[in-house]
């Protein structure tokens, strides 16, 4: 009897070991013999649940692929024309006039005119989605190829909106548009099998330089299924989390692209007691304490997180907008300093009176649950690593994976591992402004500081870009208050994540700009430069 089990266990082990050993092999031939097809298969994730309608948020981080934007950014982040050639701003900053190109057609052969631009922006305004156009008073078509935007207040960052909203055709827009988009971008949609794949084909009527790839197939796979597909030679380019960065895939190379795609802990800022209109509780007794938020910011060793969780593919994050022109370097704090953190906590009135290793103040224990979207391995690892880093200073964190639905209900009262990252300073306004408290995923912690609000409002209304940047910097830290760690510390930013891709060795994906947050396939923003090389 026992012998039978021994034999069975040995067989099982043998199978397992054989399975592990065969991993190094894959079905790819050596690079040189690999075909260079006109069809490119990508597994880069990021399937938009809402579909491909720019008026409800598709492509809000740029490069909507199916649609043209009025302007776009080159790899140096300079603004260049796309569907528009130029713009002029009136002296008071309230009136923006945009000249369109006259040779653009949608993929259904109708020309793109000022009417379509007006329709797009008016629809986006009506939809009141994540695309924020509340400051736009009116949009008028001055002629067939001239559009005028009248603003309520001057808005220095308005140009960024013009780089992210894709133009939809007025004549072909319907409820089904998000599923069957028609646009004037470099590609048109052929087939979308939700949760599985998206097939797109080159738009022959595209006015820009044509890409060398006739067809793109986007596969929507899990992290490890993507890797397996890459190893099997089924995909040409695959996005991987840093956990997989040490892999050796025959015939593929690792490409790390710098990004402002950041991860950090959003703290509910208000004390307990209130609730949202839907009845979800707002506020948290522990994280509403400044000492707790600042101490965590100081105690966390961000370099170690980059090294340990991101395998070195990333940078420490101190704000939502590190390294961007409106970043205030003076707001950076010295981190990885648990002693200073403990002193801060003691000064804030937190003591461990019952000797259980967790601090208390007025009967409230310094413990809370940190939520992260289940299934996101990097956010999970960050959450666990931070919890373990913070434990020695007397704050007890339980990390817990939840679905986005559940997070949407709990995020007003429990800290969440969230991520942002945009090339537009408007994002700072969204994340920190009290007028965005509880609006979607913007400012779920109900952070509010009048001084910060005023700086940000002034920055938005500034006509001059330099002046605007100065005000954005002051909103972060003006020497006495601010939204950064030195001030109110409503967030503990942790890391900026490099976007990692394995690509075929012969595939050149051009010079990539700094990537924004993952949604919307930032890597495809320069698809016209992609090509096979020897």
């Amino acid at each position: 009897m026992i012998r039978k089990y021994v034999v069975a266990s040995i067989t099982l082990l043998a199978i397992l070991v054989a399975g592990c050993a065969s991993q190094g092999n894959n079905h790819l031939q050596e690079g040189k013999t690999r075909p260079q097809p006109a069809e490119l298969v990508l597994a880069i994730g990021g399937e938009p649940a809402e579909g491909f309608d720019p008026t409800t948020g598709w492509g809000r981080y740029g490069s909507p692929l199916f649609q043209s934007t009025l302007f776009k950014r080159d790899s140096q982040l300079n603004i260049i024309g796309d569907a528009a050639v130029s713009y002029t701003i009136s002296d008071d900053g309230l009136s923006w006039q945009v000249e369109l190109r006259e040779d653009i057609e949608f993929s259904d052969e109708t020309p793109l005119t000022a009417e379509d631009v007006v329709f797009t922006f008016e629809t986006a305004q009506r939809n009141a989605s994540v695309v924020d156009l509340t400051n736009v008073r009116s949009i008028t078509a001055l002629s067939t190829y001239q559009v005028q935007f009248e603003l309520e207040k001057a808005q220095s960052s308005f140009i960024d909106l013009l780089t992210t909203i894709g133009i939809v055709p007025k004549h072909a827009y319907s409820d089904r548009y998000a599923q069957q988009p028609i646009g004037s971008g470099p590609y048109k949609l052929v087939q979308w099998e939700k949760g599985q794949q998206l097939i797109v084909e080159q738009n022959e009527r595209y006015y820009g330089p044509q890409s060398s790839f006739k067809r793109l197939v986007f596969l929507f796979l899990d992290e490890d299924a993507s890797l397996a597909a890459a190893k099997a030679g089924k995909v040409h380019i695959v996005a991987v989390p840093s956990t997989f960065s040490k892999q050796n895939i025959n015939g593929m190379k690792l490409k790390a692209v710098q990004s402002v795609d950041n991860r950090g802990i959003m703290f509910p800022y208000q004390p307990e007691g209130n609730s949202t209109a839907e009845g979800y509780p707002i506020g948290n007794a522990v994280t509403s304490e400044l000492a707790i938020r600042q101490a965590m910011n100081i105690a966390i060793d961000r370099e170690l997180l980059v090294e340990g969780v991101l395998e070195g593919y990333g940078t420490p994050a101190y704000s939502v907008n590190d390294q961007l022109p409106w970043w205030n370097e003076a707001s950076v704090v010295q981190d990885a300093d648990p002693d200073a953190a403990m002193k801060l906590l003691a000064d804030g009135g937190w003591y461990d009176s019952d000797g259980d290793g967790i601090l208390e103040k007025n009967g409230v224990k310094a413990q809370f649950t940190l939520l992260y979207p289940a299934g996101d391995s990097i956010r999970q690892s960050l959450a666990i690593a931070v919890a373990d880093m913070i434990k020695p200073i007397g704050i007890s964190i339980q990390a817990e994976g939840k679905s986005w639905d559940e997070i949407g209900r709990l995020m007003y009262s429990q800290p969440v591992m969230l991520g942002w990252g945009s090339l537009d300073p408007l994002e700072m306004y969204h994340v920190y402004s009290s007028s965005y408290a509880g609006v979607g995923y913007f400012n779920p912690g109900y952070y509010s500081n009048d001084t910060v609000d005023q700086y940000m409002k002034a920055a938005l209304e500034a006509v001059d870009m330099e002046q605007a940047h100065e005000l954005w910097k002051k909103a972060q830290w003006d020497g006495t208050t601010g939204l950064s760690t030195k001030g109110d510390a409503p967030w503990a930013w942790l890391v900026n994540i490099d976007h990692l891709y394995y690509t075929y060795e012969q595939l050149d994906i051009g010079e990539q700009p700094i990537h924004p947050h993952g949604h919307g396939w930032p890597i495809t923003s320069n698809i016209d430069q992609w090509k096979w090389v020897e």
Binding site: Y5, L16, K231, Q247, L304, E307, G308, Q380
Partner: protein, 269 residues
Amino acid sequence: MKRSYLLTIISASVLLVVPLLLAALLSSKGLLSQLDARNLSPSWNHLFGTDWLGRDMLTRTMKGLALSIGVGTAASISSAIIACILGLIAATLGKTADRIITWLIDCFLSVPHLVLLILIAFAAGGGMKGVILALALTHWPSLARLLRAEILAMKVAPYVIISKQLGKSSWWIATRHMLPHLLPQFIVGALLMFPHAILHEAALTFLGMGLSPHQPAIGIILSESMKYISAGMWWLAVFPGLCLFIVVRAFDMLARSLYSIIDPSRARQ
């Protein structure tokens, strides 16, 4: 023959005590992440290797197994008690009670076990509490049916009828005739529930059920390891999996050997 059974019982018990002892002895420091010691393959310092956060897999596995054994014990005992009570009621309290309980047993047995577990775990609000409750409330039907059948059969057994005719009290019959027959069934039935309960605990925690990722439950360890197997970190799954297998087998062998020893019908072997 009896000696070989005893030997099996002793070795199986040792196998079960080892993880409990190790779990108690190993410092819970190994559960904390240590980012500078991550992804280490098995070595003398880390017998089972470390995971992607530098947590010691030996500590996690042993604490996970101890938790599984604990949960399994709690679930088996409560399930056995439920089975015993329901079996007794069904067999002794008349036809209506019998019908209701038989119907209840059929109900529980007709729903796939895992579905029922998930339903109860969710209804109880998830977390460890939900898992334990689900395990405790779903493992009784087979044993209850067995006990009911045994009691029914014994009620019409010649020696019980004769005892009754000789004027023995019900209590006397129950304690002298029925109990010695039922006890082995009951003990073995309860013991055989262990491996089931442990495997189901692993299955439930594998699915998540709102458990914290800090919790070193064997199912969580296995489900997390799935992500890293494709990165070549085989030790994350192999050792915990093997340990789970050994513990479940040990319980199974223990129960079967015990049955062979205390089963009255085989007492003279």
